[in-house]
């Protein structure tokens, strides 16, 4: 199987599906739903094939748009847009395709009573497309374009129910913060382009190593600022707690599970490790050449991570709104992922750094599954009972047993109970942070204590004395139960093989990212021979 041949379809299929949606939906609601499910299922198939190919061959796929090689005629540097997929990108592609498929399947039942659904399905496919694009791109401006495609679709989806004030207010807040963050990223890209005259990530890395100027450092600061905004890190997490609960639940699952990770964490990892390579900067430091101190950048990220994981988890404890609690919990979990990323950068080149980075990648995937499941459960509760106030949901376990069971699994996994998938990834992060600096390990454990308190409170409510509000509730229909059960299955199965997954997939992904620069450039340069 040829990886380069299947790579374009990961964009073509959802793009075609999204823009043919208004025409298809003329044929009626059944056709519209079938089309959305078909398109996202096809995307999932292509994503699985892509992941298997990259995992099997351990090679980076390089695809050039519109030509055979990225090099122009008569020049020896890349001038065309390239897509490059390494193992981390492939993992992200698979996660995005899987969770999006679940969300679309869930939407069939959940969005039944809404109007304007052809726009809804168009936007949700565009959102998926933007995230897939970010995961596979190897060109800075192309990255910005996909980032904006993803962001605009998510602003519109947060404000989708525009007959309520809640959606509009959350949409406006999200849009202003998100646009400022995008502007920072664009300014960073403009500065780098002005300084180095290229947009290809691999080639940019060489240029920055040859001449690490102040401009490169300013651009790095702008990237980190913009992407911390987008990932909802702590001092600027307020938009997240407003926007994620206000969206329809299937969208909340995608926003919390995927958007903040692809648009924030993954993009940051790519910029930190692929454009500003820590390894090469270490070598430059050893030879007394000008270099960029990536260890210090790692510490900056660690400080933000500690703030985020304490504030996010602590705020989750005091919420009475179920979806808001889940949103704050997302902020807390982003803190863990950032902690892993920061240690991976600060302890670069050691075993600890590698384990921390692998833990961050593993937790990204796990949290996508867990938080998607929890938001889908919250959606089922809203759909059946009509409220998300925890004080009114007492005793839900009596009338909605299957839904409560799904919530129990999701909550246990997110807290990190051993037989489930959250345990392994959190363990990797605890272990590496305790080895790196015991204080960080202690902070991570305190965060988990708050997280446990928040979820135990919800479970206590669910298993409490039944209130009259929930007397008529029952488990939702099959199209809503099925995605939840599939996510439970994914969590349990991933939990059964934690160390196999860690050793076979996550550690190689971290290693590939760490040494990414050289392989990335080699993959690019090897094409020059064929030109």
């Amino acid at each position: 199987m040829n990886g380069e041949a299947i790579l374009p379809y990961i964009i073509i299929i959802p793009l075609f599906g999204a823009f043919s949606m208004p025409i298809v939906s003329l044929a009626g609601r059944k056709a519209r739903e079938a089309w959305a499910v078909l398109i996202s299922a096809l995307t999932l198939v292509v994503a699985s094939a892509l992941f298997y190919h990259v995992w099997d061959t351990k090679e980076i796929i390089v695809y050039t748009l519109g030509a055979k090689t990225p090099f122009g005629q008569g020049v020896d540097f890349p001038i065309r847009i390239v897509w490059e997929v390494d193992l981390l990108g492939a993992i992200m592609v698979l996660t995005v395709a899987f969770v999006s498929f679940m969300a679309i399947l869930y939407s069939i039942g959940y969005m039944k009573h809404d109007t304007g659904l052809e726009k809804y399905y168009t936007l949700i496919l565009i959102l998926e497309l933007g995230m897939l694009g970010i995961a596979i791109t190897g060109d800075l401006f192309n990255f910005y374009v996909f980032l904006e495609i993803m962001s605009i679709a998510s602003y519109a989806l947060v404000a989708f129910r525009n007959d309520t004030w809640e959606g509009i207010e959350a949409g406006i807040k999200y849009m202003f913060v998100g646009s400022i963050a995008s502007s920072f990223v664009l300014l960073g890209i403009a500065l780098l382009y002005g300084q180095y005259g290229t947009l290809t990530m691999g080639y940019m890395a060489i240029k920055i190593l040859e001449n690490p100027t102040v401009t490169a450092k300013v651009a790095l600061a702008l990237f980190i600022a913009g992407l911390l905004f987008k990932s909802g890190a702590s001092p600027v997490h307020m938009w997240l707690a407003d926007a994620h609960p206000a969206a329809p639940s299937s969208i909340s699952a995608m926003l919390s599970g995927l958007v903040i990770k692809i648009g924030g964490i993954y993009a940051m990892a790519r910029i930190l490790f692929s454009i500003y390579s820590p390894l090469a900067n270490k070598i430059l430091e050893a030879y007394n050449q000008p270099y960029i101190n990536m260890g210090a950048i790692g510490w900056v990220i660690i400080i933000f991570a500690c703030l985020t994981l304490i504030i996010g988890n602590a705020m989750a404890v005091i919420q009475t709104d179920m979806k808001r609690l889940l949103a704050y919990s997302s902020v807390g979990q982003i803190g863990y992922i950032l902690l892993g990323l920061g240690i991976g950068l600060a302890a670069y080149g050691t075993q600890t750094g590698e384990v921390a980075l692998a833990g961050a990648i593993y937790h990204t995937v796990n949290h996508a599954l867990m938080k998607a499941l929890l938001f889908l459960v919250a959606g089922a509760v809203i759909h059946e009972v009509g409220t998300r106030n925890l004080n009114e949901l007492s005793g839900l376990a009596k009338t909605m047993p299957k839904t409560t069971f799904a919530f129990l699994i999701g909550a246990a996994a997110i807290v990190g109970t051993p037989p489930l998938n959250g345990f392994a990834s959190k363990w990797l992060i605890y272990e590496s942070s305790a080895v790196f600096n015991p204080v960080l390990g202690a902070i991570a454990i305190i965060g988990t204590a708050f997280c446990t308190a928040a979820y135990v409170r919800v479970l206590y409510t669910f298993f409490g004395r039944p209130s009259e509000r929930i007397a008529n509730a029952e488990d939702p229909e099959t199209s809503m139960m099925l995605p939840m059960l599939l996510l439970v299955l994914a969590i349990v199965v991933m939990g059964l093989f934690p160390w196999q997954i860690s050793d076979k997939v996550m550690i190689p992904a971290a290693r590939m990212l760490e040494q990414f620069k050289f392989e990335y450039i080699q993959a690019l340069i090897s094409l020059a021979g064929g030109a």
Partner: protein
Amino acid sequence: MIPFQFITAFLMVAIGIYAFLYKRNLLKLVLALDIIDSGIHLLLVSLGYRMELKEPPTAPIYTGYETLKSAMVGPLPQALVLTSIVIGVCVLSLAVALTINAYRHYGTLDVRALRRLRG
């Protein structure tokens, strides 16, 4: 010496960020976003400007290239800015649409009124 276009570009970004932080009207915030974007576009476009043979550069059009006395401006920044303008228009229209909806629900454009979400 820093070329004056760059100074203007960063001044525009700074004005936009100032307006974004201190203005309270939703429409002014939308304008602030646009000013920041325009500043970045100016920066990008002016990166492609180059003086050669003491003649100002011309547009990057290949027809009749042999008879030209001067250089051509860099085509790539122009392509980037064109793309970015399209994205900017998209964000702008969405922002104005949301502002209209906010006015319907709240009866005011004051951003301080948008504070019902608490918790």
